[in-house]
Symmetry: C2
């Protein structure tokens, strides 16, 4: 049997406004482009449209920059009010050098600029923040699809993160619903019959990266549908009932993190 996966960009989404029903708009755009959404499909939704729908958008004119924001912005391209928003969205600074800010967000994500940015947001002086609870955002879209079509799908909210040591950013999962974001091979045997000791794959991050290949940054295609990948059930991520669910399971706890 030949394993095969399809990755389909869903074009034709309108410019998203606060309060818009994303699940409904995705279903409509998919129907208009004759892309059927089927049971077991994965919808990858880029963070920016989720933030816009949830009103996680801020006007720089409403921001008073602090002294540290003013200092950090000196000699950089960034408006001090933008820097101020980044600091407010951070709970811990990981690195701060030559205008670059790598910080931990209130969710626990380690990324540049606390996920705050101005790209693909209309209007000068407007910044998008990350959703307050991206797992809940994913669950909301998943439930909306279920209500409209009666189909169970998995939903991933994706954002573009840089990585230490490697050039270029990749899309990762910041919100997950309806699937186990991790695939745990521990205790299984490899193709040569050896026990795999330590391999856990972040499949939700790989799916987010996959979707980026069709959504991109300049095409106005903020949603991708992935078909043919057999993901694990969501509750498998909490075998003892006490492990985090959703994309929270992708955040390495401090006691296991060698890079804190």
């Amino acid at each position: 049997m030949t394993p095969e996966i399809q990755v389909i960009g869903i074009p034709g989404m309108p410019e998203i406004k606060v309060g818009d029903d994303l699940a409904g708009l995705i279903v409509e755009a998919a129907e208009r482009h004759s892309i059927p959404i089927e049971e077991g499909d994965i919808l990858v939704v880029t963070q920016k449209i989720v933030s816009k729908a949830e009103g996680q958008v801020i006007q720089m004119e409403d921001i008073e920059p602090s002294t540290i924001a003013l200092q950090l912005s000196e000699g950089t391209h960034r408006d001090p009010r933008h820097t101020e928003v980044i600091l407010r969205e951070s709970k811990r600074i990981v690195r701060m050098d030559r205008g670059n800010i790598i910080s931990e967000t209130h969710h626990g994500f380690n990324c540049a600029n606390a996920g705050v940015d101005a790209s693909n947001v209309p209007g000068e002086g407007t910044l998008a923040l990350l959703p307050v609870d991206p797992d809940a955002s994913a669950e909301g879209i998943r439930n909306g699809i279920k209500e409209r079509l009666g189909k169970d799908v998995a939903v991933i909210i994706s954002d573009t993160f840089g990585r230490p040591w490697r050039e270029g950013a990749v899309n990762v999962a910041i919100g997950v619903a309806g699937m186990n974001p991790l695939l745990d091979y521990r205790g299984r045997e490899d193709a040569s019959g050896k026990l795999l000791r330590s391999t856990v794959i972040a499949v939700a991050d790989e799916l987010a990266a996959t979707a980026e290949l069709v959504t991109g940054k300049v095409r106005g295609v903020p949603v991708a549908l992935i078909r043919g990948y057999a993901y694990g059930p969501a509750d498998a991520s909490e075998p003892q009932g006490d492990l985090p669910k959703g994309a929270r399971a992708l955040i390495r706890p401090p006691e296991r993190d060698m890079f804190r």
Copy 2:
């Protein structure tokens, strides 16, 4: 227009031995499973079969562990000779804690255990090392496909790397031929007309992650074909003629690396 990508696992590769002609075996396996390889396709080849074909495999019985390898292995599951091989394949230790070794390889990759591991290698006491020059490995496979089929394809050699701060590993590109591994949006406008200042996407890493969804660890499918992704030409990665080519372009130079 609806952007669409297909990801197809190529099954039926034999167990790879030193000196095997990977391009020939891939072409044969694809033909046997009626998977045509077309101009512009991307072949993602997992590192383990490349290492085996190139003889980058070592017998632990030939290794004498050093004192530091003996000390580092105490209280861990790892054989001291395995630890010794990891240290020999490293040019710099990034972190070393509780038996975990994160190091920089001679190629410049920062990863766990210098890429040395025993999974999917037949025989007790056998370890696979990374290819000596994975970009050259990719180029060799690309040339072999061109000779046999007359088609230009891109080739990515992938390996599974962990990441700071995030649970689970993902596949990344350690060798690239026939395409630009990075997609540089700087200077282009986003869908709302704003200039993108800093977005460079590591598309070769995203393609490697995509392929992992069909190759996996336990299925004996070490090669994936990706169709429908319009990659940039290889020479676009060196506009001034002095930038690194292939997967070397994905290694952040020390002077730009905030995590060294």
